[in-house]
Symmetry: C2
Subunit: 228 residues, 2 copies
DNA sequence: TTCATACTTCGATGCTAACCGAAGCATCGA
DNA sequence: TCGATGCTTCGGTTAGCATCGAAGTATGAA
């Protein structure tokens, strides 16, 4: 008896408020130091260190030493997807950490989901990519079409680099605000990077929100037209 | 600051071993009494009662009084999907409640995922439905085609009853053993019910495993051929 | 009415884990 | 070499919560 995976351990890891705050902060995609994470969680450095080692032992985060700093980040895409789906569930049930603040609309419009674009814009982008037949497939098995590959290359995305890695190129991620899928995977990451590199959008400091510039809005609308 | 949904509360709810065991038991799809749940969790009735009221307050389960029994079940499909995705994550990281037992192969082949079919057979079924163009759509936005609707009706499924409810007809659910999607939603539920009603398969007692009969295997293979 | 079953509530206990102060290690700059 | 910064480890405290015994409520059967 007691067959199957043990969800209690992961639940307990995420279930502590301090750890949950750290993980949510790391959903911003940036690697953060222990001091920064302690700050966002509102705890001392010692306590944060203890939490971080637990999260690392559980495989949720990974650390990278750089000089006298230690940068922590989510271990991989799977962790990001799991956290986003948890957020979707929580948001739908009314579990919010604070009454919805002024930043909320910006977050719902466009935000970083670990390493790709989420929110209304993220969902619209996937919709458009599917309508334009850049991406096909049902369920979670998305794949890039031949014409899609051409279009992405024309945008300046190095597809050979994406396919070389073991990570899936296209994945779906359940959006917590829209309750629909947006594009994750290495292609999703590459597209967000593209937007930021071209100056079409920029990240807000201390928030997951992504703010598009005027030309960014236009280019985005041109690249990803809404299906009629 | 501290924008966004609060994942800590849900994590804490799932994070207790006793509660996690109860939830996993309820993933079998059958409504269970407090006494039964206390048994599977290995705790006394009082403790179980306390846990159950917490889970209900958190919106994870719902109860239905019937005579002097109280039957508990997962609150809705969303809870099932969340738990399954948590299990997928846990299984992938090696969080198992016991070393993989003899029941494990049967579970991986075919099992109940709250109210629909999961495991190898569940994934194969969705693959086939997509290949046969019964279901189309990318990402999580699946929909039934016209020819698909005819086929389902021919099988004896009352589609009008399915569409009448507010629940989505087709949804994807990430399979923890296969790490690919299978079919959830009211159609997924109707199909599992069909298999059981026709005697093609039956549920094992005290397990999520589903065992197909000889004719059941044949009918299943005929209805859902593997894409070439 | 009376007893039995199913479950909840109350109260007390005990254990775990989050927390912080203080001290210890590692890295960098001067 | 020395101090400063960033982080970990250790030890002790505290608070929360899971747990169970005992008593209370509801439903059904005799």
């Amino acid at each position: 008896m007691k067959e199957g995976p043990d969800i209690a351990q992961i639940g307990a890891l995420i279930g502590d408020p301090a750890r949950a705050n750290m993980l949510t902060a790391l959903m911003g995609g940036k690697a953060l130091t222990a001091t920064e994470l302690a700050g966002t969680a509102g705890i001392t450095l010692q306590t944060a260190s203890s939490h971080l080692s637990k999260l690392e032992a559980g495989g949720l985060i990974s650390q990278r030493k750089q000089g006298r700093h230690r940068y922590f980040a989510l271990a991989d895409d799977d962790v990001g997807l799991l956290l986003e789906s948890l957020m979707g569930f929580a948001a739908h049930r009314g579990f919010t950490r604070h009454r919805t603040g002024p930043k909320d609309p910006a977050l719902r419009k466009a935000r970083v989901c670990y390493n790709h674009l989420a929110g209304d814009y993220g969902v619209r982008m996937l919709d458009s990519l599917v309508a334009e037949e850049v991406i096909t497939g049902a369920g979670d098995d998305l794949s890039l079409t031949d014409t899609g590959a051409e279009k992405m290359t024309a945008l300046g995305i190095d597809l050979s680099a994406l396919t070389r890695s073991r990570r899936p190129v296209c994945r779906t991620c359940l959006d917590w605000s829209e309750r629909r899928s947006h594009l994750a995977g290495s292609l999703g990451q590459a597209l967000l990077t593209l937007f930021l590199d071209k100056g079409w959008a920029r990240r807000e400091t201390d928030s997951r929100a992504v703010r598009f510039t005027g030309t960014g809005e236009k280019e985005f609308a041109k690249l990803f037209p809404l299906p009629a």
